[in-house]
Symmetry: C2
Subunit: 209 residues, 2 copies
């Protein structure tokens, strides 16, 4: 069975996956700053043929992914109706997904075909339906759930996530979007299988019980 | 200047320092189970003359402490007025503090002198006053703030904590008392100085900016 996998969700020691007031200038909100730097450094290491704990987690996130799901807040900084449909994500003309990407939004618009095999689809369907579409698009490979926090929460609450990797980084945000929030009893279906420290982060991996 | 130090606060990956429904049978609430096992194992290692990352953190918590502050919820499982003043804590006739212990409670009772140098004082004074009394009692040594979460939060909110060590363990609680909650802007006065993984926990240390 294909899996639904979450990777590289970066949270502060106080549990926030994003700061407040996400914007074009600060996609992950105020205070987030270089909290993703552990991941960029790991990507550089991989490009240089180097390994390490962080690099292993990043490499795993690339393996056997055939489709992607994300929330609209991860796709762009605006909320509410699209003011301008020329926005095609943060990632330039050739986004790093190279597969079908399903974007949860109440504000539908036509699919957008990008270079390199990425196509963004916009959907207001329930998580179960979107996952079924993504699984079909993935054609036997797994599906990656990219974020943000509230979209991950929807899938955790519904028990649809098979595996989740989070990286706790040595920073405090104090406010913003908590990752572990609003999960109801959904969280009881999960357990932590490992917690591994690197010099830059503590990596935890959750799977279904 | 003597410091106010927090040590060995154990939290789940989802940020809870205690589960719900704390009781005589489950002092740290439902689900907490063996979340403190990393610490007991470290204590056994220290007693056997062995070291290790966890043992270093536990050893540090014992160093240069001259007085202790805790919340009433850490002293005992009951809430509201004392039904029975024969309760003298969880720790038997010779508690491991061996100094003055100031217990925050709205329900005052006479001080209790225990074996081994521990005296429990019960106070409803503001945190600043209790800290001043503890600093005086510590006679030049530091003061340890033991917990629980809501008492730690009061001191963090007031910016009175100098140093805080937390151990994140590979478990999920899903509900209970969050450690990083209700801190207001108080948390902005702190930063994470290290995050170190051991085979059993990820240790973070916070200090004032």
């Amino acid at each position: 069975m294909p899996k639904l996998r979450v990777h590289n969700i970066t949270v502060s020691v106080d549990g926030y996956a994003a700061g407040p007031r996400q914007s074009l200038e600060q996609p992950l909100g105020e205070g987030f700053g270089d909290m993703h730097e552990w991941m960029f450094a790991a990507m550089r290491d991989l490009a240089d043929g180097k390994g390490g704990v962080d690099a292993e987690y990043v490499e795993r996130s690339k393996d056997n992914i055939g489709a992607t799901i994300m929330g609209r807040n991860m796709f762009g900084p605006w909320r509410g109706p699209w003011e301008d449909e020329s926005w095609t994500g943060w990632w330039g003309s050739n986004p790093p997904f190279h597969n079908d990407v399903f974007v949860h939004t109440h504000h539908l618009r036509p699919s957008v075909v990008m270079e390199g095999g990425t196509t963004f689809h916009f959907t207001d369907e329930p998580v179960e339906t979107v996952l079924a579409r993504a699984v079909e698009a993935a054609a036997g490979q797994d599906v990656q759930l990219s974020g943000g926090a509230s979209t991950v929460q929807q899938y955790l609450r519904a028990g649809l996530v098979d595996e989740m990797h989070i990286a706790v980084v040595p920073q405090l945000l104090g406010r913003g979007e908590r990752l572990f929030d609003d999960l109801g009893d959904g969280i009881d279906g999960y357990r932590v299988v490992d917690l591994v420290g690197s010099p830059t982060a503590a990596h935890a991996r959750l799977v279904r019980r």
